[in-house]
């Protein structure tokens, strides 16, 4: 009991990190904003990962998949940006 309390203790000062003020009583937006920020930072994914133990072979599998996905996404982004490059005097060629 004492050990778990120590592990779960709130050592950091409260209401500074991961805090969003509510504007115009719009709590839906505030909730979505904080979820979006936390999702982008990877906190929610980490929480879901550590809920159950992930065996080392599962970790390796996931990490390799993420690496492949990152490579693919990067290459796809480069291709899209290349294809979107244009310098036309007529913006819609062939259209009336």
């Amino acid at each position: 009991m004492h050990l778990s309390l120590r592990l779960l203790s709130n050592r950091h000062p409260s209401f500074i990190a991961r805090t969003v003020f509510v504007q115009n009583n719009d709590i839906d937006n505030a909730c979505r904003l904080i979820n979006r920020i936390m999702g982008k930072e990877g906190l929610l994914a980490q929480y879901r990962l550590t809920r159950y133990y992930e065996k080392p072979f599962q970790t390796r599998r996931r990490v390799n998949h993420e690496k492949c996905k990152a490579i693919y996404n990067e290459d796809m982004e480069r291709k899209i940006q290349f294809v979107l490059r244009k310098n036309r005097h007529e913006p819609f060629p062939g259209c009336y």
């Binding site: 209401f15 805090t19 979505r32 550590t50 133990y53």
Partner: protein, 191 residues
């Protein structure tokens, strides 16, 4: 002449055929492979909201050095009562405390009358939020700051229930315990 006719018919047929030709066939089924992890559903708002426009508005969204002393209903922010919401997959527990942490009101979905799996729903969280908000208003608390812990069905609806019950929510903090070197968790469930 007949060959010319035949050629013209053939040409028109092929052009008609080309009109009805569809684009390259797309895979309709989702690709499922045991070695590739399934995408998780996520939390409401995890991917949607337009972050850049929200941040560009010149409002005070995040705490600053001075925001601790900002007055809300005559009370500085650091002296506002706190509503802790502990969200789990099976239940939602609300706790209204003084700013120093002393607990005043505790409500949970079980206390509302929900049993077993029904406690772990967003409706239960909302109902419990309304109840605790009405109790708090009766006891004299109108403006609170909210601290949410955990991921679960009641995460958004709990805060919504608090507002519906009449409490004025000033800020939402997320205090979910996230660790990058936690003690070894229990083994994964095999369903």
């Amino acid at each position: 002449m007949i060959t010319a006719l035949r050629n013209s018919v053939r040409a028109s047929v092929t052009s008609v055929v080309r009109l009805f030709q569809t684009s390259t066939p797309q895979a309709t089924e989702k690709f499922v492979h045991k070695r590739i992890p399934a995408p998780d559903e996520g939390v409401q708002g995890e991917k949607i909201i337009d972050l850049d426009s929200a941040l560009k508005t010149k409002q005070n969204l995040f705490p600053t050095l001075e925001s601790d002393y900002q007055l809300y209903n005559g009370i500085p922010y650091k002296d506002l009562p706190i509503c802790n919401i502990r969200v789990s997959h099976n239940n939602t527990i609300f706790t209204l405390t003084e700013p120093d942490g002393k607990v005043r009101i505790i409500r949970s979905c079980g206390m509302e009358g929900f049993k077993n799996t029904k406690k772990g729903t967003n409706i239960a969280a909302q109902t419990t939020g309304i109840t605790i908000a009405t109790k708090a208003v009766v006891q004299g608390y109108n403006t609170v700051r909210v601290r949410v812990q955990g991921l679960g069905p009641g995460r958004l609806s709990a805060v919504k229930g608090l507002q519906m019950g009449g409490l004025n929510i000033v800020s939402i903090t997320d205090n979910t315990h996230v660790s990058w070197n936690p003690p070894r968790a229990r083994k994964a469930r095999r369903l």
